[in-house]
């Protein structure tokens, strides 16, 4: 029988842990401790404070914000084990990873796979340093779930492309420096006519208009391209390869959207604690509203099973060295549960949980309403639940193409 006994950590790991601790004590500004990540750093208009800037630069200089990316492009060049140690030490110190956003989650990994040497040298290091904000130019007014129907054109003008068209749901478009875009270079073939092009959001002919959402927030934009000149070297892969590259990038997106870990962090206070605050409990802490108690338990049991599923998917992927079959269901399951949780959260708070603004509501109550409304997007973006169901039925279950 294989021995499961744990040997002591190898000396190299202990050394590395010491190096991280040393770095943290020298470089992490104590005033940021436990403050949480202003993640959004990359995708919002939050102005960085001076300590936040110092911390981002310190992490960026080591490449530790993108710990497993190659060192030659500004990444940390760490092993998975070292990256895990780094993570542990960061949370032990109450620190956060200040390098994030779409460049890290989606674009970077895709460019490392498909970009040429010059593109990697140009674009990866600023992502690792957290200097450049990227946004995604995929969806169009008539290309949502049917993404390949996109019509934004890139016309070959010899040394450059001339881009015309409209993108929508551009997350963080109003703050982004650059955009990775799917454009049409050929009208004769729906899928093979698509190319993957990098655009400068500051270029002449780019106009961005924020869209006001049901949550009252405007995290998404419409982006208009009118005769925008894009240098030829900004084409990733070959002309017509955009659909393949674009789909690969979506896999990174789905992995991030469904990850049990990141979702768990979004979760906030326990529902049962919330229920005790807004409802009655008996002397031993048992909720007197038995129906509510039953519904909370019902949710928490399924949430527990979902976290176990996310863990199993990760273990199986690691074991088999590929993406596990059940990864395909994670997005669908996780997003549904997170919406259920928000609905339950505002219901527990009653009308107090529907406050829109102004007097009479706590910050948590006001945030809960916005989160509930914003959360309606999660089953729509990144491949709607219906699209996920098509993918599961066709790719995983081998059911025939529907009509």
């Amino acid at each position: 029988m294989a021995s499961l006994a744990k040997a002591g950590a190898p000396a190299s790991e202990t050394d590395f842990r010491r190096e991280v601790q040393q770095f943290l004590s020298e470089s992490f500004p104590p005033e940021l401790k436990g403050k949480g990540n202003p993640v959004t750093g990359v995708e919002s208009d939050l102005r960085e404070t001076e300590p936040q800037r110092r911390w981002r630069e310190a992490m960026g200089a080591r490449g530790w914000g993108t710990p497993t990316w190659p060192k030659e492009y500004g990444g940390g060049g760490l092993s998975r084990k070292q990256a895990a140690i780094l993570n542990e030490e960061l949370s032990r110190a109450g620190a956060y990873n200040p390098i994030g956003g779409m460049g890290v989650m989606m674009f970077g990994p895709t460019l490392l796979e498909y970009g040429n040497e010059q593109q990697k040298q140009e674009h990866i290091p600023p992502i690792c340093r957290g200097e450049i904000r990227w946004c995604q130019g995929y969806s169009e007014p008539n290309a949502g779930s049917d993404l390949a129907n996109l019509q934004t054109t890139a016309e070959d003008k010899g040394d450059h492309y001339l881009v015309n068209g409209q993108k929508t749901w551009t997350s963080g478009g109003q703050w982004a420096d650059k955009c990775f875009c799917l454009v049409r270079t050929d009208r004769s073939d729906k899928h093979k006519g698509i190319s993957f092009l990098l655009m400068d959001m500051r270029a002449a002919g780019v106009e961005v208009r924020p869209i006001r959402m049901i949550s009252g927030l405007s995290p998404f934009c419409e982006t208009f391209f009118t005769d925008v000149k894009v240098p030829k070297e900004n084409l990733v892969g070959r002309e017509g390869e955009g659909w393949t590259i674009g789909k690969r990038l979506l896999q990174h997106e789905r992995t991030n959207l469904s990850g049990g870990g990141s979702m768990a962090r979004m979760m906030g206070p326990r529902l049962s604690d919330l229920a005790k605050k807004y409802h009655e409990a008996d002397a031993s802490g048992v909720l007197t509203d038995k129906v509510l108690r039953d519904r909370i338990a019902d949710f928490e049991i399924r949430w527990g099973a979902f976290l176990l599923t996310a863990r199993r998917a990760a273990e199986e992927s690691k074991e088999k060295g590929g993406v596990s079959e059940i990864s395909s269901v994670l997005k669908k399951l996780g997003t549904k549960l997170s919406q259920e949780r928000s609905e339950l959260t505002i219901e527990i708070m009653g009308l107090q949980g529907l406050g829109w603004e102004g007097e009479g509501f706590s910050d948590a109550e006001l945030a809960g309403v916005r989160a509930w409304l914003f959360g309606k997007a999660v089953t729509i973006y990144g491949g709607s639940t219906e699209i996920q169901n098509n993918i599961i039925a066709k790719r995983v279950l081998g059911m025939l193409d529907h009509q």
């Binding site: 048992v286 399924r302 176990l308 199993r312 269901v329 399951l333 169901n389 599961i392 059911m399 025939l400």
Partner: protein
């Protein structure tokens, strides 16, 4: 599927092969046709014991192999796929109670017999139609146990009863004629056509399992919940696979049913549910093996097994259409067994209540 070590993989493959070749659903039909209340094939159980499966969670010094809970669960999952009728589950649970709560003499006396298949064991806990393990009237005075237990699984051939009484857990060994005379077994035919009985103990000689601590009953029941969920997992997987095959074969309106999007999305939903169920059940087994027996994990495992098998067994019949309603077709067996197991060791309502209590609300 959980990541397995080499030994677990071998055992799983062996179980899969035996179940497929030697214990197809046709075997269950034969058992049913025999009309015997014991409702299993003793020759098949002798083979199971010879292969060592009855001793998977029993320490080697008492004749078992000590392969662990994940291994035991995988075997039961495979058997669930063909609704294999056998007293393996209840015997494993009776053994678990003795491993947890028995003194060295008790372990030496009973565990080797359970591991080797010489004795069949079962749990006698509930006294009514609902799982309610903390309201019991069965009592013991002077080592003599009196009470009536309802719907005891595999009671007909059992000679070792692990009985919950108001003041703790006891073993009643009925392997001698004298002892057997103090226990009456009255058959209760349930829809699943397996062995169930009302068991009345009239001053039966009982030995207390005194080494397990105050929560011995809960610990045993948590194991019952997780192992039962394993059988349910095999059933759910089989119903899902059978239904998917059927949708690919059945042609209406000149096309395979599997090409209809309304059915595709229902199958995608069931596939997601099945993934959750498998994770919950394997999570329960891993919690047991890691020694961090979280009662939470047992509640999650059985509650998810109840929820998902309920849905899949219902949808399985519906998606088969008329053929699914026939006795000639196997799918009805899974539906009937499903409801019996859902109600055993905790309905969904019971488990949600328990989960909330464990979580402090």
């Amino acid at each position: 599927m959980a990541v397995l070590n080499e030994e677990q993989e071998m055992l799983r493959d062996m179980a899969r092969e035996w179940v497929t070749n030697e214990s197809a659903v046709a075997k269950f039909r034969a058992v049913r046709a025999s009309g015997e209340p014991r409702a299993y094939d003793p020759a098949a159980y002798a083979t199971i014991a010879r292969m060592g499966w009855a001793g998977v969670i029993i320490p080697e010094e008492f004749g078992g192999t000590d392969f662990g809970w994940l291994s035991a669960g995988m075997i039961l999952e495979e058997m669930g796929k063909t609704v294999t009728a056998s007293p393996l589950l209840t015997t494993t649970l009776a053994a678990a109670a003795i491993v947890l709560g028995g003194n060295p003499e008790q372990k030496a006396k009973w565990l080797p017999q359970l591991a080797g298949g010489a004795m069949i064991g079962t749990l006698a806990i509930d006294e009514g139609a609902h799982h309610n393990p903390h309201r019991l009237e069965t009592s013991v005075s002077d080592s003599s146990l009196t009470g009536t237990k309802a719907f005891v699984h595999e009671a007909h051939d059992a000679t070792l009863f692990v009985v919950a009484a108001a003041d703790g857990m006891y073993v009643v060994d009925t392997s001698t004629p004298d002892a057997a005379a103090s226990v009456q077994v009255a058959t209760r035919h349930l829809a699943d056509m397996r062995s169930h009985a009302q068991v009345t103990f009239c001053g039966a000689r009982a030995e207390k399992l005194a080494h397990g601590g105050d929560d011995l009953l809960d610990q045993v029941l948590d194991r019952a919940r997780i192992l039962t969920a394993c059988e349910m997992l095999g059933m759910a997987q089989q119903v899902f696979d059978t239904t998917l095959d059927y949708l690919k074969q059945r042609v209406q309106f000149n096309q395979a049913l599997s090409s209809f999007q309304a059915l595709q999305h229902r199958m995608a939903d069931l596939f997601g549910d099945l993934a959750m169920m498998r994770s919950a059940v394997e999570g329960g087994l891993q919690a047991l093996d890691s020694g961090m027996m979280m009662p939470h994990a047992a509640a999650i495992a059985k509650a998810e097994a109840n929820r998902v098998l309920h849905t899949i067994s219902r949808e399985g019949v519906q998606l088969h259409g008329g053929i699914g309603m026939t006795d000639e077709y196997d799918i009805g067996f899974y539906l009937k067994r499903a409801r019996v197991l859902e109600a055993s060791w905790g309905s969904t309502g019971f488990l949600k209540d328990r989960f909330a209590t464990l979580s402090g609300y």
